[in-house]
Amino acid sequence: MAHDEVVRLEDVWAHYDGVPVLEGVSLSVERDDFLGIIGPNGGGKTTLLKVILGLIKPSRGMVSVLGKTPERSRKNIGYVPQVNLFDPDFPISVWNVVLMGRYGRVGPLRWYGKKDRERAQRALQTVGMLDHKDRQIGKLSGGEQQRVFIARALVSEPRLLLLDEPTASVDPAMQTEFYELLEGLKQRMAIVLVSHDITAVSIYVDKIACLNGQLFYHGSKEIGVEVLEATYKCPVQMIAHGTVPHRVLMEH
């Protein structure tokens, strides 16, 4: 059904200084999808998310989010950028970081209202960070920061959640907990997660696509070893989802 489609990309090309980063990417994400996009660094994963957000204009092709242009749908997109991009010394509390996610609903010239504060409180509760709301964001651990940024993306009550390398700064012990948090969220929104880390992604997502300039997307739970090899240009693990989550490792 067309109205269940959250993201649609048709033959999208994007360039950086004349070098193609996305080469004819077509993709469809539906309402309750949890899609993992894996691929090597420099394969265009962040660019793809930015195209969906409308931060980067594709040089060719069509992008639509919730049936509209990315700019007009931004209000309904929650975005969790790579953590290392902000200044850890910045004087701001967790609470004010999360409220920032409500900006699109409040608009300029007004301070956040009662409803915004309630939403912020609920979002912090969802990610288990309410006790830390008065702390400076830079003083938290990588995993805690990640949770706060997810809360910031959730306060606008998005219908699509985009996560860029969400586990990069989360220590391995916390990763399971992190993916369980996403499990809970996927009932409420479509989730697209990009990562270069195949193992972390494979167990929890429902669908996997591989991106290295081109997108190898099967829209299924199994992913062929040829596809992974074409993406990474070297032998890699094979992933298959069954009743018990497991990965098949190939010798190399």
């Binding site: 931060l55 931004r74 910045f90 701001i92 970081v97 920032m100 900006y103 699109g104 007004r110």
Partner: protein, 279 residues
């Protein structure tokens, strides 16, 4: 010092210091947390072109500086945002061009340019009543804008890219911020001069940042520190017969360095304590 207060120029100087610390405390916080010290330095120095234009046009050099600095702030903002020129290259070029224009304008002005030195290095003792009124008006504009757009500037300063995704008009806000820096430069020219403005834009805010992680408290603290520095510097310059602007800058810088040095020593001492808990 107290007996000095019976002179009108001393009272005006105190008042000018207070008005300057309001502007530089509030706007300086954004300069420091958004790490735009270099472009602020560029705007400050380019304002010399406006001083020269004021002389040439026969209007008040400060008024000339106001229009010229606003225009050059917008120019720098647009050039660094919209062209492929690397940001620091663009700033460096416009910085020098502004100053060069000032020199040409002053050269074209017939006769001698009085007070030129005090525009370059500041002279808080010569601020006239009209100058105070202008400073007060600019302070009022800055405070009003920051109160109205506090949330917006916070989002701009923290994370521009995320801001864009939630609909923050980042380019327009950034240009407005540069204009506020331009206005602050104009407020500060009388106090420390074109060359030294960048010190008062950064030092009180950098010092305040050591004591709080809340942007609003940081602004309040920075204003307080700015006021203390300008009073203290004024007093020192009066007692020892030194140039007022340079004294204020050196006093502020010394306090900042001492504060950083002290916190560095303290954290090393703590580390040593933790390393040897038995002793």
């Amino acid at each position: 010092m107290l007996e000095a207060l019976q002179y009108e120029f001393m009272r005006n100087a105190q008042f000018a210091g207070l008005l300057a610390s309001v502007a530089c405390g509030i706007v300086g916080v954004y300069v420091v947390v958004k790490r735009i010290v270099f472009i602020s330095g560029g705007i400050a120095h380019a304002s010399f072109g406006g001083i020269g234009l004021g002389y040439l046009a026969g209007i008040s050099p400060v008024l000339g500086a106001m229009f010229f600095t606003l225009a050059s702030a917008l120019g720098m903002g647009l050039v660094t945002r919209r062209t492929k020129l690397p940001e620091d290259t663009a700033i460096g070029i416009l910085w020098a061009m502004g100053m060069a224009m000032g020199i040409i304008f002053i050269g074209l002005t017939p006769g001698y340019a009085p007070d030129l030195f005090s525009y370059l290095f500041g002279n808080i003792l010569t601020v006239p009543r009209s100058g105070l009124i202008l400073m007060l008006a600019l302070d009022a504009i800055i405070v009003t804008i920051v109160i109205a757009l506090y949330k917006d500037f916070l989002a701009l300063s923290f994370d521009e890219e995320f801001g864009t995704t939630v609909g923050v008009p980042v380019e327009r806000l950034y240009l407005l911020l540069l204009c506020m820096i331009a206005l602050t430069v104009v407020v500060l020219i009388r106090v420390v001069g074109v060359i030294l403005v960048i010190a008062l834009l950064t030092i009180p805010a950098a010092l305040a940042k050591q004591f709080t992680h809340d942007l609003r408290n940081m602004m309040i603290l920075a204003v307080l520190f700015g006021a203390l520095f300008s009073f203290g510097g004024l007093w020192l310059s009066y007692e020892f017969d030194l140039a007022s602007g340079a004294t204020i800058v050196l006093l502020s810088g010394s306090v900042l360095l001492a504060s950083f040095g002290f916190s560095e020593l303290r954290s090393q001492w703590r580390k040593r304590q933790q390393a040897s808990p038995q002793n």
